[in-house]
Amino acid sequence: MRRNSLFLTVFAVPLLLTSCFTDYDVAEVAPQEFLDSESNSGQTADHSHADGADCEECAEETGHTVDAAMEADQAGGPSGHSHGSAERNHGTQWFFNQPWAAPFIWGKLLRDGIVFLVMAAGIFFATGWRRKK
């Protein structure tokens, strides 16, 4: 009986909270502006180009070309076609789909923390009360 009530508390409470039905995989819950900013910065996963090919999209969006990058490589060493530190690079959508980069899920984190804290208190007092009884 005690175990049943414990399992009910653990499983039912988060499911009763309708807001908890929305999980927070960043890629799934990201607002359109966030996704737009990703595609504008040229980091969509399908944005790729062959070695040595001109990248007009990159040239328009970020102001550089593959030719320029290759010239820089030849002149300054094997730096590759890459952006500077702390700048968004190509094919790095996974990198920015992490909680630290997505402020719109921080509220969900806070909410989940409070839900877990309330559940912890509920389980603590419920099992203690039953034991005393």
Binding site: L6, A86, M119
Partner: protein, 251 residues
């Protein structure tokens, strides 16, 4: 509360006397030194590689420490029959759990700070840049370590240590998965899997090694939220552990 602190201090002394702690600490430091000694072959971003893998090594170290420190605490107390006199008079079951957890958490914190200092030393010796957020990143790994510690305590009340290790490791791996990846494990029941995932922690919340290695600044408020989330989840796991412990017949 005084009883909890006294018992935590006893736990702390006991854990420092064990060779397990020093063995795990040595393994982590050797692994960090090994990572740093991988030749760079003139690649300009060796610092990123060392930082990224170094913090990953510290995270694995947190898992090893949680398992090494706590998996055998309760089973050993029960086996040596020191548990019965402890919870018969001076301590309640809740105080026993909190004392053991607090002692192990302090030891784990000390060990992880030592590994962080070790990583800093390795970066200095190789002439690499030390990012300002290295210590906060270790703090978040520590919070993840406390969550793992509470999970180990939870499993230790109804499983043996050899079973505790794979169960906790499995939870560690599963909690790294995104919701979509987790639901993909059983494609025929996505609703059930998504509901289960709500109860599992999002370990990616504690991972800021990528942005640190690539020179991104992390908002201070994010640290606070992530620490709050981790502490709350640890409290949830400890309450579950206590519920199981309270339901155990120790005779």
């Amino acid at each position: 509360m005084k009883a909890v602190f006294t018992f935590a201090l006893m736990t702390l002394r006991m854990l420092f006397r064990r060779r397990t702690l020093w063995g795990i600490l040595l393994v982590i430091l050797l692994a960090l030194a090994g990572i740093a000694s991988v030749p760079s072959f003139d690649v300009s971003n060796q610092g990123r590689f060392v930082l990224d893998f170094g913090l990953f090594g510290i995270e694995l170290g947190a898992l090893l420490l949680a398992l090494g420190l706590a998996a055998s605490l309760y089973p050993r107390d029960r086996e040596t029959r020191t548990l019965m006199p402890l919870i018969a008079v001076p301590l309640s079951r809740g105080q026993y759990l909190m004392g053991r957890f607090l002692g192990a958490a302090i030891v784990q914190a000390a060990a992880l700070i030592v590994t962080c200092l070790g990583l800093m030393l390795i970066l200095i010796l190789h002439g690499l840049h030390i990012p300002a957020d290295l210590l906060p990143a270790t703090l978040l790994i520590l919070v993840e370590g406390w969550f793992l510690l509470s999970t180990v305590f939870f499993f230790s009340f109804f499983t043996s240590p050899p079973l505790n290790w794979p169960l906790t490791t499995m939870l560690f791996i599963v909690s790294q998965m995104s919701v979509a990846e987790f639901a993909g494990l059983v494609p025929s029941a996505p609703g059930l899997m998504r509901s289960l995932r709500i109860l599992l922690p999002h370990a990616d919340v504690f991972h800021i090694k990528d942005p640190i290695a690539h020179g991104f600044q992390i908002e201070p408020v994010y640290f606070l939220i992530a620490v709050f989330y981790g502490v709350c989840y640890s409290a949830f796991m400890l309450s579950l552990a206590l519920a199981v412990f309270r339901s155990r017949d120790l005779k």
